[in-house]
Assembly symmetry: C2
Homo-oligomer: 343 residues x 2
């Protein structure tokens, strides 16, 4: 077997010198290097910002969505949405392991990759189903995981697709657990979505009974989900792209004190200021939303003289997979919501 780079740079086709995530195109031939893992893929879980964009463009037509996905993979060697820049993750069975690897997995084991599809070499023979609700796409095909690539064995105490949906957003609750302190006022935007619900749980847990947890959810269904968890003290329904509306409502709900931590779990662009304005000076704005613009956040905060720490949601945090699955194990309401969302 050929020797590969830990980070998979041996698969970068263009441009030269970058890592696979930054590459425009990577080599998706399915002959593995000595430090790679070959996976028979069963389902892709597109990240919500990416799927939202593809669905909008395809006007909701499943066939057009399939075409877009296949075209991206054919052009780039990976499911790396050229508009949003984001990916998602996948589940599948181990097909083979490179010679050099000494791992606790063997062919036949089921795993979820915890690295973005935006850097995962992927070859899809056929898309057998597209689920418009869950952004999950059943496929026949193969993928490659690099030596530095993180993965989790699929747990056997919950449905595969529930685990997949939760693991896709595992970075968020794990990081929120470090950001929120006892007694904090915490704002969660997109609180009725998957990452939003998990962050609500974590915000409540860390802020405690003296904290104030404010959920922003849009549709009736999303509000209902957030409400049913009983995790939030206040539920608001502004449009998260309207910063002034969000700001005014949070201002009112906090008697002008604003939030210590504001968390963006929506999946749409132009929500930067709705996260920054309602945060207090010295507070934190955490962006898990992949449709966030770097400059809009940096210059938007400057523009209104807000001394807020602006944090990019890292998809990876140590122990994030177990952390997230444990939330579903400890919170039955959330687990039931994830069940229903995965249908």
């Amino acid at each position: 077997m050929k020797k590969g780079c830990v980070f998979g740079t041996h698969r970068v086709v263009e441009p030269h010198g970058v890592l696979p995530q930054a590459a425009w195109r990577i080599d998706n031939s399915m002959e593995i290097y000595d430090n790679e893992i070959l996976i028979d893929v069963s389902t892709l879980n597109l990240d919500s910002a990416s799927f939202h964009q593809i669905k909008e463009e395809a006007k909701g037509d499943p066939e057009a969505i399939k075409e877009t996905i296949l075209k991206t993979i054919q052009t780039r060697g990976k499911q790396h949405n050229p508009v949003t820049g984001s990916g998602g993750m996948l589940i599948g069975q181990i097909a083979a392991l490179g010679d050099k690897l000494d791992r606790d997995i063997k062919p036949g084991d089921k795993i979820a990759t915890l690295v973005s599809l935006s850097l995962t070499p992927l070859k899809i023979d056929k898309i057998t189903a597209v689920n418009l609700q869950t952004a999950q796409v059943d496929v026949e095909g193969q993928a490659i995981l690099f030596e530095s690539g993180v993965y989790a064995k699929l747990p056997n105490d919950m449905p595969e697709k529930v685990a997949l949906a939760a693991l896709d957003v595992a970075g968020a609750p794990a990081q929120v657990s470090h950001l929120v302190n006892t007694g904090d006022t915490v704002l969660v935007l997109g609180a009725g979505g998957k990452s939003g619900l998990l962050c609500l749980h974590e915000a409540r847990k860390q802020a405690g009974p003296d904290g104030l947890v404010i959920a922003v959810a849009r549709s009736e269904a999303a509000c209902q989900r957030a409400h049913s968890t009983r995790l939030a003290d206040v539920i608001l329904s502004p449009d998260a792209t309207n910063a002034m509306e969000v700001y005014n409502l949070v201002h009112e709900a906090t008697n002008g004190k604003l939030a210590d931590v504001a968390i963006n779990c929506t999946n749409v662009p132009r929500t930067e200021m709705s996260t920054i304005l309602p945060a207090k000076n010295g507070g934190k704005a955490y962006f898990f939303n992949m449709a966030t613009s770097f400059t809009a956040a940096a210059l938007g905060a400057e523009g209104v003289g807000k001394d807020v720490e602006l944090i990019i949601g890292n998809g990876y945090t140590q122990g994030h997979a177990e952390h997230t699955l444990n939330i579903l194990r400890e919170n039955e309401t959330l687990s039931a919501i994830f069940d229903s969302l995965s249908e």
Copy 2:
């Protein structure tokens, strides 16, 4: 006078509901609202990422650069580079103050705005000079500062253009002073540039003699500038867009320990992984570079399983203007470099 919104939303033309920074176009008519400040502008300081992009596209031709700038201002009502998304700031004299404002400035005072040009209503009659080295553009025109807009009176103990150059990047050193702890290993990418040099100073000061400060500078001149400050323990010269090269050099310089804090002060795209890879797990990556991609940072870190806090450089931090001017006052070498860079 008409009543205005604190954040200047009364000037947003499109799209509806956003703040001025996020707007595609704002109203740049120069009749002020009751809470605005009218400024006679003398010089624009384009931010380095924006100017770099405009200069590249114009192949270095000053007339073409002028045209691009005028066209942007005409289309958008502000100097908001549509490619990089960034702006810069300006110096000028107060021309008038809205009725409602009670401020410590009066017509005739010289100020620098500390909010981005990407949200500042601007009308330029004429560009009289473009300085290709400093990214400073002398103009005849007017601008408006919103009630929430931050500004600084120009100090009288240093040349105006030195203050302008330093104040443009004032967010960086002020934030770095909070990020670095005693004994830390700190990496500064773009260490020979303006924000890079100020961050070197702050990194050294906070890390102390037991810390390790590593400078990455590219050109001979930039290395020389970084070297002459005597602030760095090590100076490296990889191409900051080559993540593996940067990683390997930092790995070597730190005996594999990597950096506690990695600071990106370059002005070019595709440098996210050069900041993330050399940071240790549990460390911090701070992106001041306006050419940073949100998704490349978030998914790139995930892709290599790096548990690093990813921070967006907020252009504003409390006290950042005084903080930065004081660095030039306390460090004569830096002050001399800024003098020479401003010519």
